[in-house]
Amino acid sequence: MSGNSFDIIACGDDALRILCGPGDVRHSLAERLAGDPSWNEIVPGKQDVTIAFNPYTYTMTKAREKLQHALHTGLTHSVTRGRDHVLAAEFGGEAGPDLAQLAERLDMRVETLLEKVEQSPLKVDMLGFTPGFAYLTGLDPTLQANRLDHPRSRVPAGSIGLISGQIGLYALDGPGGWPIIGRVVSPLFDRCLTEPFVLKAGDSVKLRPAVSPQ
């Protein structure tokens, strides 16, 4: 079995970056490395995975050797599949204040826009920016939108943002610069859990309209 020969570069004096390119390999790498307590942080980016090591356990040379060894022992051969989520959401109105204007700008009916969102096979590409904020790729390419000219200082937890090619899910209340089209009904963050954020990088997501109670 051949191992992987990704380049590993320094990221400061106590972190290393594996240049593994975009795609699922980042998520399976991150998941497998997570089992090793030598690594303080394992952070997937858009095209890489960065690992902060404990400088009291390893020098950078030793950490690099250990990482190279892990890559060469076929670490990435088993591609772990993320979980599948179907998230019910309210669209438009107070939950999605930018939906109507966005549809108008795209010259399509709100129903058409939402159909395209619901049919998009979304995937959590990475989390970042603020706690639990999930960048989802796989959005229908005809849905083109820019960031807001004036970011909001506070958008509610669960809000669904949309910019070209991506959906952003806000796990917590916080500042937000993406047009908001709706809000996921169930919480994306539970402070009592060991993994308090519902979504993980590599997970698949489908958005569905919430069924309103009769």
Binding site: I9, A10, C11, G12, D13, D14, A15, R17, P22, A30, N40, E41, I42, V43, P44, G45, K46, Q47, D48, T50, A52, P55, Y56, T59, M60, M126, L127, G128, F129, T130, P131, G132, F133, A171, L172, D173, G174, P175, R191, E195, P196, F197, K200, A201
Partner: protein, 306 residues
């Protein structure tokens, strides 16, 4: 109980950093200057990461409802306990009903006030530290306000201590920060290591904007990668941005330099107008610097890790 009479510009409860959650977008938080916080805790016999008050620029006062020991470290300011002038870097005895008043800080930015008993704080995601942007941790996830009351557990007094002079922060308005090349500095010769930079007024627990001349080929937005406290990024406006304790977990601006782990605690003392130079440091020197500073601090605080 501690009553907040004057909170100053920004006082928060900080404890240890959050760790192992950056992949979920959760920043470290914790003290902007971890060494000063640990020194304050040491004066009252507490572990380095015990919850403390982080007071920005001083100008704050607190009333203690019961007798208590306190310790102060960090930026220098005049302090009074009741009507007595008091010293930083030494265990102080506060009587029931007395007011601890901290004058404005003249150099540096943050003072840490540790108290003998445990400060009640919200423990979330593995730490009691306040993270203001998401509003969690510490005291209701926010800065302290006039009239706030903090619950303090009773504690046995410890023998009085004085911080060794060699470990105290030397007040300064000019910093030489040791740094290694960041992942986006393609050519180490491309950075002017002799250049002097200035801290702008855009400064928070998330980061400090730095004015000066940065290599322009570096500006632009690239696919996001992980960033950590101590990262120097260059914004599209050609300014530098140095990440602090609350710094975001990922970023797309070029990551030019990384202040070495041994010197990151100094970033918490930067204030607007301060001058900065970055000292070109090799990986071997960075590791040696960490060993040396760690050994010095550990002799006084065995549990402390930079």
């Amino acid at each position: 109980m501690i009553s907040v009479l004057e909170p100053g510009l920004q006082t928060t409860i900080q404890a240890g950093p959050r760790s192992g959650l950056r992949h979920a977008g959760v920043p470290a938080s914790g003290p902007a200057d971890a060494v000063s916080m640990a020194l304050a805790n040491r004066l009252v016999g507490k572990t380095p990461a015990a919850a403390c008050l982080e007071i920005t620029y001083g100008a704050a006062s607190f009333r203690f409802s019961s007798a208590c020991q306190i310790g102060l470290a960090g930026a220098e300011a005049q302090v009074t306990v009741g009507s007595r002038a008091a010293q930083m870097h030494a265990t102080l005895e506060v009587a029931a009903g007395e007011v601890v008043a901290i004058r404005p800080v003249r150099m540096g930015a943050r003072i840490y006030l540790s108290v003998g008993g445990r400060i009640e704080a919200e423990d979330i995601l593995g730490s009691e530290s306040t993270y203001l942007p998401a509003g969690f941790g510490g005291h209701g996830g926010r800065t302290l306000r006039k009239g706030d009351e903090l619950v303090i557990a009773a504690a046995k007094p410890v023998p009085a201590a004085t911080t060794p002079a060699s470990l105290r922060l030397s007040p300064s308005s000019s910093y030489a920060l040791r740094a290694v090349a960041g992942p986006d500095l393609s050519d180490e010769a491309g950075f002017d290591w002799e250049a002097s930079f200035r801290v702008s007024s855009r400064l928070s627990r998330m980061g400090a904007e730095i004015d000066g001349l940065f290599p322009m080929q570096a500006s632009g937005l690239s696919p996001s990668s992980a960033v950590f406290p101590g990262a120097l990024q260059v914004t599209p406006q050609g300014r530098g941005f140095l990440l602090l304790a609350d710094g975001q977990t990922t970023g797309g601006y070029p990551h030019l330099l990384q202040v070495i782990r041994a010197d990151r605690h100094l970033l918490g003392q930067l204030r607007p107008g301060d001058r900065i130079r970055f000292l070109h440091t090799s990986q071997a020197r960075a590791e040696e610097a960490l060993r040396a500073k760690q050994a010095l601090l550990q002799s006084w605080m065995p549990e402390f890790r930079l």
